[in-house]
Amino acid sequence: MTDSPILGAANITKRLGGKTILDNVSLRLDKGDLKVLIGPSGGGKSTLLQCLNLLILPEKGQISLEGRDIHPRNKRELSSFRQQVGMIFQDFNLFDHLSAFENVRIALIKVKKLSRRAASERAEQELARVGLSDKGGLYPAQLSGGQKQRVAVARALAMDPKVMLLDEPTSALDPELIGEVLAVIKDLSLAGMTMLMATHQVGFSAQLADEFMFMDQGRIVEQGSPKELLVPGTRTQAFCSKITELAGEVPG
């Protein structure tokens, strides 16, 4: 563990409107890690993920990719960094005027500057990977929530990211659609993708995650393997059992 992490964050602090949203947060993601952020809403999970991708600039702290510090003021470096960090959003954020296929392809052409042909081939592959080869011609308005999120995953994967950040990828989905998205995430994790995911799917996460990080009031207050944390007396355990009780889910 002395190697540089794939993605590192050191002492990230973010204030908004006089409130401290992130309070000196540090974390590292090593190759193949699946780490899971859990905790109450407003605890800073989403802000942390957006800071890690520098979609929000923290006041203090340093983000690094494979040991190299990122300087957000350098536009080239920022764009290159973001290409290598895939981001999945709670409400998908597919480009509404583009078909599923074009959604996956557009950044390959406009950002990575691939030829249209190479970009199209790659887009086909990634849509196939998430099981949507036959839906490429459909527009976001014609896709179910689960399909939209799978297109979003394909779009991120097409950029060959070194790490993926997932911000509650199933929270906006109808219950019967959650499974198809979780299956894609599971495949990715088993294929060795390095990932950090904020989620309330604690049962799923407990089976797959290398580490749980419990966030509250802008800090990581508990951190450890699901086994270590899912024991009586921890906040993680109290939180998870409350969620699973509400969802009628058997704790994983």
Binding site: L55, S79, R82, I106, K110, A141, M159
Partner: protein
């Protein structure tokens, strides 16, 4: 009302000439107006503060003053600064600048209607701000702004009739000359009105075609009952 065939022949010949001149004013000024509207609309939403202030000032000025006064400034005022515009150039610039101010408002509305997540997602993929606006935001915003912009083009067709005030012999200019010569104001302007009605109807059909060709699932031209 005079329905003498000789008079009617003369009338239609004059109005057809005027129509041709009007089209030469309307088409370039409509394109100029849209181009200005898009640029100014983008600046007003995404531009840096000083530029935004300039754009807001432009809109306030050109929406807030009578078009006649603007046309006179372009045609009679500018020569005082050593800039001479021909009558038709003054009309095209005048109409385009005025139309652009209105278009920018429709474009601005279109831009503001696009969810922030579209921008965030593009940034997360490494798009530069300019590429984000050009390839992700604007194509959606224009589809949303199209009905309003179409409305503005129809206004433009009608206010192009002010061109005769800066000596263009457009449709209204020819009509006015004809009426002054013959005193047949009713007949002349009844027919002239019909010319504008036909122009506007053709423009409406054309605009509907454009809207239809840009229509996508989620950006439909018409939305039936759900």
């Amino acid at each position: 009302m005079n329905l003498d065939p000789e008079f009617l022949r003369e009338l239609f010949s004059a109005l057809n000439k005027g129509l041709f001149v009007s089209l030469q004013l309307i088409i370039p000024s409509a394109l100029l107006g849209i181009a200005i509207g898009i640029v100014v609309g983008i600046v007003r939403v995404y531009g840096p503060k000083p530029l935004r202030t300039v754009a807001d000032g432009y809109v306030a000025l050109f929406r807030g003053t009578p078009l006649v006064a603007q046309l006179f400034m372009w045609y009679y005022g500018l020569p005082n600064l050593g800039i001479m515009l021909s009558a038709s150039a003054a009309a095209i610039v005048g109409f385009g600048m005025c139309s652009g101010a209105y278009h920018s408002e429709y474009i601005r509305g279109g831009l503001l209607s696009i969810k922030r997540g579209q921008l965030t997602a593009a940034q997360a993929l490494g798009f530069s701000p300019v590429a984000t606006i050009a390839t992700i935001i604007l194509p959606q915003a224009i589809r949303r702004a199209l009905p309003g912009c179409g409305n503005e083009i129809i206004y433009l067709i009608k206010y192009s009739s002010l061109a005769h005030l800066v000596t263009c012999l457009d449709l209204t200019g020819e009509a006015y000359g004809m009426a002054a010569r013959t005193y047949e104001f009713t007949a002349v302007f009844l027919v002239t009105g019909a010319y504008y009605l036909i122009l506007v109807s053709l423009a409406t059909i054309l605009l509907a075609r454009v809207e239809q060709s840009l229509s996508l699932p989620g950006f439909e031209r018409k939305r039936g009952p759900q």
